[in-house]
Symmetry: D2
Subunit: 336 residues, 4 copies
Amino acid sequence: MNTLGRLFRVSILGESHGECIGVLLDGVPAGLSLSAQDFLPDLERRKGGTKGTTPRKEEDAPLIKSGVFNGKTTGAPLLVLIENKDMDSSAYEKLKDTPRPGHADLVAKLKYGGFNDYRGGGHFSGRLTAALVIAGVVAKKMMAAAKIKAEANVVEIGGAKDAKGMERAIDEAVKNQDSAGGIVECRVNGLPVGLGEPFFDSAESLLSHAIFSIPAVKGVEFGAGFASARMKGSECNDAIVDAKGRTATNNAGGINGGITNGNELVLRVAVKPTASIGKEGGTVNLRTGKQEGIVVSGRHDACIALRVPVVLEAVVAIVLADLMLIEQKIGRVNTR
Amino acid sequence: MNTLGRLFRVSILGESHGECIGVLLDGVPAGLSLSAQDFLPDLERRKGGTKGTTPRKEEDAPLIKSGVFNGKTTGAPLLVLIENKDMDSSAYEKLKDTPRPGHADLVAKLKYGGFNDYRGGGHFSGRLTAALVIAGVVAKKMMAAAKIKAEANVVEIGGAKDAKGMERAIDEAVKNQDSAGGIVECRVNGLPVGLGEPFFDSAESLLSHAIFSIPAVKGVEFGAGFASARMKGSECNDAIVDAKGRTATNNAGGINGGITNGNELVLRVAVKPTASIGKEGGTVNLRTGKQEGIVVSGRHDACIALRVPVVLEAVVAIVLADLMLIEQKIGRVNTR
Amino acid sequence: MNTLGRLFRVSILGESHGECIGVLLDGVPAGLSLSAQDFLPDLERRKGGTKGTTPRKEEDAPLIKSGVFNGKTTGAPLLVLIENKDMDSSAYEKLKDTPRPGHADLVAKLKYGGFNDYRGGGHFSGRLTAALVIAGVVAKKMMAAAKIKAEANVVEIGGAKDAKGMERAIDEAVKNQDSAGGIVECRVNGLPVGLGEPFFDSAESLLSHAIFSIPAVKGVEFGAGFASARMKGSECNDAIVDAKGRTATNNAGGINGGITNGNELVLRVAVKPTASIGKEGGTVNLRTGKQEGIVVSGRHDACIALRVPVVLEAVVAIVLADLMLIEQKIGRVNTR
Amino acid sequence: MNTLGRLFRVSILGESHGECIGVLLDGVPAGLSLSAQDFLPDLERRKGGTKGTTPRKEEDAPLIKSGVFNGKTTGAPLLVLIENKDMDSSAYEKLKDTPRPGHADLVAKLKYGGFNDYRGGGHFSGRLTAALVIAGVVAKKMMAAAKIKAEANVVEIGGAKDAKGMERAIDEAVKNQDSAGGIVECRVNGLPVGLGEPFFDSAESLLSHAIFSIPAVKGVEFGAGFASARMKGSECNDAIVDAKGRTATNNAGGINGGITNGNELVLRVAVKPTASIGKEGGTVNLRTGKQEGIVVSGRHDACIALRVPVVLEAVVAIVLADLMLIEQKIGRVNTR
């Protein structure tokens, strides 16, 4: 459903063109300093605004509705909302019967019997990643108490891995009213040995579970990932160099047997190109049943991957914070 | 932990060199025909025995211990065990203090304070995938009642995608006492629209969660996956061709917005090369604290990917069967 | 934690003297008619206002923040908030160091390291039962679609079971600045056979789990309940009178072996007397460590049991609605 | 379903006349000493054998199938089975079409479409409480590490609270081929303040959830329980006597606001009289649809409440051990 986690639990809610989006956090340790201002830097990072991201100005003013008292978390459920403002839903009326290819418009209509809020993708909107970012800020605070830091970066756009090539891919996408995909990498340092379980709750299982909730992600790999499928065992095995488990190489990406091994956690995600493009795509008119061409007008991200890093950091931090609580590496009350 | 699923729940147990391995299934619909024989074909497929897989003869005689009466499932918890026989654990004694690189030996020791059963990897052993296969057989029966079929195949070994190249990669690995990685693909036909949830329980989230519990998997991708990161939006978007959501291409791999769209489900997993190899690797002697060379003797799979397809089918079926129950596409009692 | 349910999931939030209280509902079927007005009758019932309940005028104006579009539920998470207004928290400052006996003041302080919002009981406040009532209204709509109705009534106050005796007990409590306990009974008609599981998720387990989240409840019994402990088997066994499971008597209260049997569900809860009273009680001053007398001033319910029926109906409906979804007696989309 | 707990998870399985009954435990801390012998004292207590309990000689030889190595728990899933022996199921064939009143025979048949194992109650059998007892032994070991002890006793039989009266009630039941109900009380000392959550996972919620999985329990109360409904607030409130939360009286039974307050935990359960009696009851013949008299032959417990204490201790310990892990009062590895 819309909830993730065992001891630190994140539930998201809201619609793109409804009253608000938001997140409910349960299991947050009491005693963490928290104010609405703390969310702004990461929300700002998510907004984009640079070349290749939408110029649409979302006003993301987070409101803490519960769970904080005198500037500290109380241990009670923490609700944060962002109210939606100045939405123009008129453009979506005409899309009601012509589902956008690459979007969830049609599956949403079919799954929910036509009762879904279709405006701007409704609950499926990428706008809900702002709720993930908010949860991530709290998770990062929990992790910071244990001196752990997650950092994500775009490492590839349109097949290019260098800055110039990435820029060229974006320029081309903008020029052609098209879009470009990309790859985002996240690294986490300072993790203890022992997070995760041997099978169903392996660290990779839990991380990928959370990561695939980010819209547009179509692949996840850890360490050498897909490249390891082309390696020999003698290349892929990481030589152990000390009794704490430090390894000479890190093809495992910090996880052995589903459990963190104390080395850097490294993962990469494939982000498909933005589905909303100015070029014509093919759809079906649900009234007539006939195929039609469709152009998604409005201002869109030429490369949504550019906005993914802060969201990826957030969901990674959410999962790891939960595991840190489970393994008793973070206390239930923040006493520092 | 070691449990997966919401209405159809799978828990695995056991150790490689303990008394048994097994699986406990909860929420199985009553009235499915089931006998121990039903498990044999898929267990046989998992065993390997062909070139590139271990010649070790595991006798996998599954015993149904509860949940079946008069040849039919009863709706009560279903326990199936495979007893371990003729194990020679002596080889593992010397490995106790020299953790094998690429294995979970050291993380297991550190996580469980040295109390873990280290023989043959203990609970972390690939042998537990037989338990997954057993659960998969039951899940496939549930799916078959809805005319849904999952099929997985090896599509790449050592970088080669054609049969000759794959064979060459295996031969080379065997010859060099080394191992080769590979890629396994799973396709599922007949799925209804609407399985999965918009965010945390997206179909991709739940599938990847289960898939990363398979040892040696280091990457998962859906549809075009990582290749979509190099596509343009105009290439990647799948044109919708009818009101049921059929699309002209299937870059989405059968999932939009986290929800199955009625097209073929397509996913691929990266399997790293077998960690146990006859070539020397580097480790640390935990008694002396000094680095040492290590050769893992015994008979191993030169390419563990060859044994993954039936396991991948199993976990995919497990997840989908649960979603089918949740969406009421399968009944709680099998009345056919 | 603060979440209940498997397919229909209820999470509550908020504090008595914070910004708001509220409830997040996940798994609500799409297509149910729902407006803020629908919550008012049950919220009104909860308020009391009659003799024996607090004259404090809570303005309970529920706001639907997500999950409803064009007057129907969408299938997406449904958030409903009630903003708190005109609170006077000054009275609670002096209670900060003198925890009220019979309340959670001290355990909250100890559990959350002193970071809890202590004003008016904070997150522990009985005011959060309004959030339960809101969830109950949605659950009742789900149940109504299956023609099932829950109804709760006060059946005993201060030991009296007749109207005059109850009134006398209340009058006496009011007069003496004291309070009275009571017993509330809930009956549900129209339930199908088969809700609940044999052991850990027995219908009694799930119902009592939810019921003990209502503040002041200290006992739960089903059917003959504690009286059955004084019965003989020949008296207690309910003779079965038809093949559908109808019974001549109903000492089982509608549940056999943890599973609804199609007869009327009958349960009773013991509600302790309101802890906040004008009579002096004993506490400890946390600054001085010395024992002190304490009088809880303000307007309180002389008999909180009077306000429990609608809350009890709500949690019972929440549990049963979830079970109805699990057993596929309610659809995921409301098509009526 | 058949699983309980969040970090310490208990799943039960098996049938009365099937191959075995058993329990799967997940999340058991590594490093606890454990052998099959450790289960025998509590299994012996459950067996009864004294006057008022069945003379049937169940051979309860528990077999540890996984999760223990060198006499210590490993942290991996722990499976314990008891194989069923010398069962005579012939008596149950004739009961197949005449469901026993007071039993789950008919609901089981209806819920599972007739596929349930009806012999001896199948999965619904009271015999499965042996599995609870086994789980309880492990939970008690976890609790003992924190110096916490649960102890349960029969405090009332057939309405009598003194030993002579209880004995008389049993004698009478035996003489009349009837049965007697009773009340069992459990007390736990040494609990820390802070176990449980304010609402849905209140300590009372979690405990009652587990307790109602014990067959024949029809009521649960904490502290003064139902008696508190007849108290005045000034009588019921427990005066706080020190800053740790010690109280002068214990009407709350050790729980305030859903959270343990550090005082003795006290709860009582109502156990209905054994449903299987030699006196005739009324049922329906499912073939003919006609009402019939039924006598349940065989050796039965005249007072099943006599066998409940060790089972009650077990489920209480299971819940508290889980909460101790969640609140980090017990470590993930037993280092003592």
